[in-house]
Structure formats: C-alpha cells, structure tokens
C-alpha cells in the first residue's frame, strides 16, 4: 500500500533516525511539544473566554484575539514541528494507534470550528466587537474550542498508554531451534 511505504520512508528518514538514536532528543522534543501545546491552549482559552463573554468584556473581541492569536500560531507551529519529529520516529506505531487517530480528529474538529467561526461569525464582527456578550454562534464556537482542545490534550496523553504491541514473528526470524 502506498501509505504504508510512505510511513516506512518517513520512519527511515534522517530526522526520525536522529530521534531514535540521540539520547536527549526525545525528552527535549517531547518537552517542547508539551510547552507549545500548553501555550496554544492557554492563549486560545483567553480568546474563548472573551467569546463566551466571561472575561475581558470591556475590551473589544478583535483586540483580545489579535494580541493572542499571534502567540497561538507561533506555538502551534512549534507543536507541529516537534509533533512531526515524534511521529516520524515511530510512524507505523502512531499511525495504527486509535488514540492518535482520535487526537487527529479532535485537531481537525478544532480547526473546522475555527474556520467556520472565521468565515461566518467573524464577518459581522463590527456589529458585536465591543459587546460584552457576543452572539450565540460566537459563544458556541468559544465553548466548542475549549472542549476540542481539552480533548486533544487528553487524547495526546492517552497515546502513550495505548501504544500496543505487534507480536507477529517476521518470516526471516530463525527461532525454530532444536537443541
């Protein structure tokens, strides 16, 4: 299958090899991934709380979001790079892992929620930018965003507890001893 050979190539790549053979690579890359993810969540939470009309209600929504989303995107970029390195190191295992797939779905959901908000609700922002309580669609987007990102973080942690085992014996493994 095309995808499988792609995963194998990825796993055989130089960065993946570096992740597997350099002793401090995994702790540093994974630590940076957690820091980046925590920053993504923390900054988005500030924007979401404003959307929900719970905090910063005296500041315009666009003011809050413009200040925070630059940080969010920077941190998200870092999370993608470090996440890609971790994925490459054990591509086959991650690909087959249910928690990993669900995490990707949760990420997709968070992205879709954001895209819909951007292209529909945010178009009319001039009408509600300074309102303490944004319209219903904006509040729903804010709440969904918090839920999706919480799911991403829990599912990410769940991957490490559910990686599983491939017990299949390779054809070329000579174990049929008769001593």
């Amino acid at each position: 299958m095309e995808l499988m050979s792609l995963l194998q190539d990825l796993q055989a790549s130089a960065p993946a090899e570096w992740m597997r053979t350099s002793v401090k690579a995994m702790p540093l890359v994974e630590g940076t991934h957690v820091l980046a993810a925590a920053t993504v969540f923390g900054t988005i939470l500030i924007v979401d709380l404003r959307l929900l009309g719970l905090r910063d209600v005296r500041r315009a929504f666009t003011r809050v979001s413009d200040e925070m989303l630059r940080l969010t995107w920077g941190a998200f970029g870092l999370a993608v790079v470090t996440g890609a390195l971790m994925f490459a190191a054990n591509a086959g295992t991650y690909y087959g892992n249910t928690a990993f797939r669900l995490k990707m779905l949760a990420l997709l959901a968070a992205g879709l929620n954001m895209a819909i908000f951007q292209h529909r609700t945010l178009r009319g922002v001039a009408a509600w930018d300074v309102n303490a309580t944004p319209p219903r669609a904006a509040r729903v987007a804010g709440l969904l965003s918090i839920l999706f990102w919480l799911s991403v973080i829990f599912l990410a942690r769940w991957i490490g507890f559910t990686k599983g085992y491939d017990f299949a014996v390779p054809d070329d493994a000579e174990i049929n001893f008769q001593f």
Binding site: R20, T21, E30, Y165, A168, V169, E174, N176
Partner: protein, 169 residues
C-alpha cells in the same frame, strides 16, 4: 560482641531494609507511568528474540520464551511460538546500554526480568535496575537455568538476575 560490631550489624540491617524497599518500588524506567504494569509482580524469562522494535519512547524486544528443558521455544496448541514483549527505555538510551536491533538479532537467546502488564497482555516493563543476560550464540542454558549460568554469556546492567516473585498482596 562489641558495640561497634553491633552498630555495624544494625546499619547493615537498615541498609538491607532500604535495599528491599528500593527493589520493591524500583522504577523501571518508562516514559508513560507504571500504572500499566503490576510492579508487585516479577517474571523472569529466558527466550529467543523474534524482533526488536527500536521505538524512540520505549524499545521493545519481542521474544519466544523457551520451554523448561531449554530445548525449544514454547508453542501454543496451534504449533505457533508464544510471543512476549519486554519494554524499556527509549531506543537511544537502550542502545547506549547495549540493546539495539543490531545487538539483539532474531535468534538471540537471553534472560530478562519484567513487571507484567495488568491487562494480561503478554508484555511487561523491564525490571530496572536488574541484569539482562545474553547467552552465547545458539547456546541455551541447561534445563530450568537462565543465561547467567552459561559460560561466555554477556550481561547488560550487570549484577544478579531479577528474582521471579509472585504477587505479594
């Protein structure tokens, strides 16, 4: 018995208690927690490597445990080898300790202690600290023995093999 000697004995006893405590709760080195494993239970296996998965988070050695006579690997009713897995540090640290795809090729006979999974799956976390012994090529130990008893065996981690212990609760 003089007092100095008594004091030494007491110190020795205290050290033994602490050592026992460490042995009991000693962390196998793993990145996710040990919640998955039953740390109260230790299994010791002598088996034949089928595959090494150099996972960057946890290197896994898959192996077929040998029968008690050490004449062949254990097989299920279907005649296929029973395969277990032992997990440890990430591939880089394991390689630094001498465990890699290259040093544990299929067919390698070795002995390892592990804390088995709570789930009942045939896998566990390497007992660490605790020695792993590699038998010389195609030289299994005598019946009921482990690789540490074979002349020319190589150790990883050094010291004694972890002693198999049933659930202590």
């Amino acid at each position: 018995m003089n007092t100095t000697m008594q004091r030494k004995l007491v110190k020795g006893a205290a050290a033994a208690v602490i050592a026992a405590g460490i042995a009991m709760a000693a962390p196998a080195i793993a990145h996710h927690s040990f919640a998955l494993y039953n740390m109260e239970q230790t299994l010791t296996f002598t088996g034949v490597v089928t595959r090494v998965n150099p996972d960057a988070n946890h290197l896994q050695i898959f192996f077929a445990p040998m029968n008690d006579e050490r004449k062949n690997v254990q097989r299920g009713e279907d005649g296929k080898p029973l395969v277990w897995a032992v997990e440890m540090t990430g591939s880089a640290q394991a390689a630094a300790d001498g465990i890699s795809v290259g040093t544990f090729p299929p067919g390698t006979i070795f002995t390892v202690g592990m804390h088995p999974l709570r789930s009942g799956e045939k896998a566990g976390a390497r007992v660490n600290p605790g020695a792993i012994y590699k038998c010389p090529e195609k030289k299994p130990p005598a019946a009921g023995k482990h690789c540490d008893s074979v002349d020319g065996s190589v150790t990883i981690g050094g010291g004694q093999l972890p002693v198999a212990a049933p659930t202590a609760r």
